[in-house]
């Protein structure tokens, strides 16, 4: 079998890890042979079919420490929830490569882990587990350095891998430099690109949700478009761009529409790009009726915004990792996104078009300076250093995090402090007009907290206004 993998350092690194931890290292040719022989539809196949049919795929998040419990969980979500794509959410220790810690816990206290320790259980058991389901699996994590995990993913027969050099660093690491994470993730993209040459299409999903709290659409889209362009340069052919629901229907539909228009403008025509909606990722309401109404809003948004996939939440979101039954309920509720009946709801087309045009031009303003420098890693890193690129509430302390977002009276997310973002005066005026706020400065904690907690409000006192 003729291999065309140039950079095999990534796979070798994982082989070394296996040797050192006493598990059997995978053989790269066998792994690729296995991927080519898979009989079930890949994530890329499903995304392509869903887009052509106008369907919205539903994917839950899920991960537990024990492999038997993980298998059972996937079985439940598959058979009862009819999840279209299954997830292996990786535990926090593995993400941060605290490998001794996770190895210890995976052996002695697996149920104390908040996700599936793929590296500890190893590619053989993981491959066997995934092979028992018709629905394909995706690996979701949060690793600034994903190389070991990606090789293990490939060896496990999985061809869908979330993350990117910006979106999996900024919210997930305090001190990994932007240049380093871009370099790590470039290896993943290069490897995916080489697999694509052999007709193995890896779905690379980019995490526009970022720090998950009050992310202005233009920032989610600018960051993921940078990652998408870089991935396409390495030969990646399937890119999913995830956008987090803000809660304002017009803004959210506009942003999802922008994913498609931006991809058309910036990605080569042979790259398949799919808009993905993350149901609301901020602080969730506790009461079930509010949580489920928020999930419904997300499902309506996914349908009206032509998302190809939605990542569902559950009514237990506020309390922690949901029970499998709650996750099943969340999947089924999210599947209403596939109903044409939601098309009967009134749509404020003018508002959506106005938001869409604005978001599109904001993304262009954010990308212009680094596009001038050909989107080099240096250019991107410099932009974060100067604050020309910025993300609110960054975990990474090298970012300015000087951008302060705020909610408008209709719940849309806009920017109250622009930091050093290279926005035009027109854009700045747009945000000021939308916010129309008296907030005096960015130290108004009460206002920021109120905006963060906006959708978690439990009140039932606000009845709809009487029309007569």
């Amino acid at each position: 079998m003729g291999l065309d993998i140039q950079s095999d350092a990534l796979f070798d690194q994982y082989r070394t890890y296996c040797q050192q931890t006493g598990t059997e290292p995978p053989i790269e040719t066998e792994a690729i042979h296995y991927l080519k022989g898979l009989k079930t539809l890949s994530v890329h196949d499903l995304l392509t079919a869903a887009r052509s049919k106008g369907d919205v795929l539903v994917q839950p998040r899920c991960g537990v420490g024990e492999i038997a419990a993980m298998t059972q969980l996937l079985e439940t979500l598959s058979s009862k929830g009819h999840a279209d794509i299954l997830t292996l959410t990786i535990d926090a220790y593995t993400r941060l490569l605290q490998l001794e810690k996770v190895s210890d816990l995976a052996t002695n206290e697996p149920d104390s882990l908040n996700g599936f320790p793929l590296l500890s259980h190893g590619w053989q058991k993981t491959r066997q587990m995934c092979a028992s389901f018709n629905a394909p699996c995706q690996v979701r994590h949060g690793s600034p350095d994903p190389r070991l995990l990606f090789a293990a993913t490939v060896a496990s027969g999985i061809t869908s891998f979330e993350g990117g050099g910006l979106s999996y660093n900024i919210p997930y690491s305090k001190d990994t430099s932007i240049k380093d994470s871009l370099r790590y993730w470039q290896e993943v993209d290069t490897y995916s690109g080489n697999l694509a040459k052999q007709n193995i299409i890896v779905d690379r999903e980019l995490f526009g949700t970022l720090t998950a709290v009050l992310i202005p659409p233009c920032i989610a889209l600018a960051i993921t478009m940078i990652e998408a362009i870089l991935a396409a340069r390495e030969g990646v052919k399937c890119i999913s761009i995830a956008y987090p629901q803000s809660g304002n229907l017009s803004q959210d539909v506009a942003a999802l529409n922008c994913v498609t228009t931006l991809a058309r403008a910036f990605l080569p025509p042979d790259v398949d790009c799919f808009p993905v909606l993350h149901q609301f990722m901020g602080v969730f309401p506790q009461a079930r009726h509010n949580a489920e109404a928020l999930i419904v809003l997300g499902s309506i948004t996914a349908r009206l915004g032509n998302a190809t996939k939605v990542i569902n939440k559950t009514y237990q979101e506020a309390a922690g990792i949901p029970s499998s039954q709650a996750n099943v309920d969340g999947i089924l509720l999210s599947k209403t996104a596939n109903s044409w009946l939601y098309d009967l709801l009134p749509v404020p087309i003018d508002q959506i078009e106005e938001e869409q045009a604005q978001i599109y031009s904001e993304v262009l303003e954010l990308l212009a300076p680094i596009l001038d420098r050909d989107l080099s890693h240096d250019a991107i890193s410099d932009a974060f250093a100067t604050g020309e690129l910025d993300v609110p509430f960054s975990a990474n302390s090298s970012l300015h995090s000087a951008v302060i977002p705020a909610r408008s009276s209709s719940g849309g997310i806009y920017i109250s402090d622009f930091g050093n973002l290279p926005f035009s005066e027109k854009t700045k005026a747009f945000h000021r007009a939308r916010l129309n706020t008296e907030r005096s400065d960015a130290t108004d904690m009460a206002a920021i907290s109120r905006d963060i907690l906006y959708l978690a409000t439990e009140t039932t006192a606000t009845a709809a206004p009487q029309l007569s």
């Binding site: 309390a319 922690g320 990792i321 960015a442």
Partner: protein, 175 residues
């Protein structure tokens, strides 16, 4: 509003120039956790309230937290946030480190203290067993505790810890 500047309020840097003698609060997010939004908001709120805050931010090793305490005098409290459900695993070295460094400063933990949406209620006690002094479920409790620590600090040299606490109110609200 306060006189503090926006940049000062939001600073997540590890080492700050701090007024000598002012009471310091050390904030950090647990070693495997990266949920920094609450951490940053609380840090900013404390600064606006006049506290001096050293915010060590996301995924900070416990040893780094303790060493930061050691290198400063006048630390009022150490507060560690944990949202990803790994609190107990992340803090398992706390007894060893407390003994090694002779930590006298109160240690406060808040957030979502175990994985799973259904809690069995034992998480708080287990954390106390390994040396956490206060367990929070609500940020307003945190401000109350700090206020009271500051007041009792003004009365005596250091509040007593390890035995009984003055803050039964806060403890009764533990998860």
């Amino acid at each position: 509003m306060s006189e503090i500047s926006k940049l000062e309020v939001w600073q997540t840097a590890t080492h700050l120039e701090l007024d000598k003698g002012a009471p310091i609060v050390i904030l950090a997010v647990a070693p495997s956790d990266v949920h920094v939004v609450a951490n940053q908001i609380i840090a900013a709120q404390l600064r606006v309230k006049g506290y001096k805050v050293i915010n060590l931010g996301a995924a900070t090793p416990l040893q780094e937290v303790i060493e930061t305490w050691q290198s400063h005098s006048d630390v009022l409290a150490i507060a560690i946030g944990s949202v990803n459900g790994h609190a107990l695993q992340d803090l398992c070295d706390l007894p060893k480190l407390k003994q090694l460094y002779q930590v006298t400063c109160p240690i406060i933990v808040g957030g979502n203290l175990s994985i799973g949406a259904e809690k069995d209620g034992s998480e708080g006690q287990k954390l106390k067993d390994i040396g956490v002094d206060y367990i929070l479920t609500d940020v307003t409790q945190f401000f109350d505790i700090l206020d009271q620590l500051k007041n009792s600090k003004n009365r005596s040299e250091r509040p007593s810890h390890g035995g009984t606490h003055e803050f039964d109110h806060a403890q009764s609200l533990a998860v």
